[in-house]
């Protein structure tokens, strides 16, 4: 495969914390390709806008998201309250803006936690082979067999409802995909000459795996990480909607939709704007993943 040309000793590393002597190579070229792809531009633009709004929430929001009586209850969208007010008179726009912080945080934390658990397992499976590989493969199969929402439900049932548990659940759900991607990359690279070269100058197994082989698993992992972040946003909203994640009065998008559900007949805006926000964020992350996938496609390198 053409990917092998990318995997010569001076392997260009991307995000995973391993730095090589020439960090600009693949990462810079990938970014340029993503920016030339309309799908990538749209994804990045939406994501940048949502992140900026979330990070600057205290400035962008016109009211305190928890302030009861910022307007009269169930006020329709107007200039003062662009997304209307909820049953307690809280400003829905300000709540949506602050909700972005929770979703963004969940996305980053879950992806990090998922990578931290899946990549070592994948490395171990690919490098260890034999029984180790078989055992880890069955573990992946088992996790994969749980419908993803159920893992989360089981988790919070046992450990209690909290954002940390949602992050853990999302991370665990994504172990099989990320772990398998890592494992496959290791298997493909294990017998390459540069690995042998690294071993022959005395590098330890762990060092070879982490510094020389892992960077070659990076492209598929980067794509999958974007998808994991989208799934994290989705699941946090779903859990909060079911009352298993964030709790009222936290302005989480899922919580807002759950609260708005009871007022659909009087106030459509309560069930509308938080959903638009969730959809936009997931859409942007999926688009980014698509653009990254075609930018990192080995056939194009």
């Amino acid at each position: 495969m053409a990917q092998a040309t990318e995997s010569l000793p001076s392997t260009p590393a991307m995000t995973l914390g391993t730095r090589s002597s020439r960090p600009r190579g693949l990462a810079a070229r990938t970014l340029i390709r993503v920016l030339r792809d309309p799908v990538g531009v749209v994804g990045l633009a939406i994501l940048a806008a949502l992140s900026a709004v979330a990070l600057l929430a205290p400035i962008v929001a016109s009211f305190d998201p928890l302030e009861i009586g910022a307007g009269t209850p169930l006020e329709a969208p107007s200039r003062a309250h662009p997304f209307g007010t909820d049953d307690l008179g809280r400003d829905v726009y300000s709540r949506v803006v602050h909700g972005g912080r929770i979703s963004l945080w969940i996305a980053v934390a879950s992806a990090t936690a998922a990578l931290a658990m899946a990549v070592p397992l994948g490395l171990l499976a690919g490098y260890g082979g034999g029984y180790v590989d078989a055992a880890i493969a069955r573990l992946f199969d088992t996790i994969f067999a749980f419908p993803s929402i159920l893992i989360g439900i089981g988790f919070v049932a046992v450990l209690g409802t909290s954002l940390r548990n949602v992050v853990l659940a999302v991370a665990i759900i994504n172990i099989p995909t990320l772990g398998r991607l890592t494992r496959v990359a290791i298997l493909a690279q294990k017998s390459e000459e540069y690995v042998e070269a690294a071993r022959s100058i005395g590098a330890s197994g762990a060092r070879v795996a982490a510094r020389h082989i892992l960077p070659n698993a990076t492209p598929p992992l980067v794509v999958q990480t974007a998808l994991v972040m989208g799934e994290a946003v989705l699941l946090e909203a779903a859990f909060s909607f079911l009352g298993l994640g964030s709790r009222p009065p936290t302005p989480s998008w899922g919580v807002m939709l759950n609260e708005g559900r009871n007022f659909l007949a009087q106030a459509w805006w309560l069930g509308f704007f938080p959903g638009v926000a969730i959809t936009l964020m997931i859409l942007a992350l999926n688009a980014l993943a698509d653009a990254l996938r075609s930018a990192l496609n080995p056939r194009r390198l």
Partner: protein, 315 residues
Amino acid sequence: MLAYVVGRLLQTIPVLLLTSVIVFLFLRAVPGDPAMVMAGQNATPQQLEALRKRFGLDEPLVTQYATWMSRLARGDLGTAYVTERPISSLILQRLPATLHLAFGAMFVMLVVGMPLGILGAIRPYHPLSQLLSMLVAIALAVPTFWLGILLILVFAVSRDWLPASGYVSVFDQPVEAITRLILPSLTLGSFGTAVLIRFLKSSISEAGNADFVRTAYAKGLRERAVILGHVLRIALLPVVTILAIQFGQLLGGAVVTEAIFGWPGVGRLILDAIGNRDYLIVQSTMLLFVATFVVLNILADVCYALLDPRIRLGR
């Protein structure tokens, strides 16, 4: 062929065993004393002791697990803590509603997803095809529960066209049951439909580039004959697997959909059980869902092997 099926079945044994251990440990991993959590703060020591005896919580973990497994082998899932009813009968009572929903969603996936996916793949540059791609991207991003809310807003709140909640069995009142199924099935089926369309587009266009397709054109076959006789025959095979995986995910998605539409199914049973801290129900229902998923996957693989000789002969 038999060897293939047996091999596949053997592979699932560790998965199911591991699942049972994980699911079993769920109940034991509750921080603090499970009996205390179940009985509440004000329980007397006698009550706690009785609870521990009843659920065998005073026995060593290995014994507890062995007891649970041997009961399972006899089809006994245990007794619900709150309602004091056998869990198997609780599940059986809720199962029809969930199956209605799952089959409704599968119906949406097949009836909407298959034709659109095939048409989109055959005419990739048609404007409608590009519109379809955009719709698919949106459908993949819209959360199930929000779609449910939107559908209720449009079809039940602002227009009184379709009911927003309630379940009736098809076997009792077929027409009423189907009108009540429309919104929940669309809600639950939209994500899977998008996955299917996306998958069909890539698998059909990939098969379209194969050598045997060029050969078919070269020998003078018309496009229709090539697509129906050669491309689709290959490209539609993996759909079996996609459907099996999606069905498993549907069972999970049903939890959310049932919550929105007030649907008295297994998903509601799980949510209520979590609310009541009735862990035995959660444990048993999860095992049931996972087992269903695993069995469906074997069935899919077997279908696949029957349809495609390359697989059962090991390529």
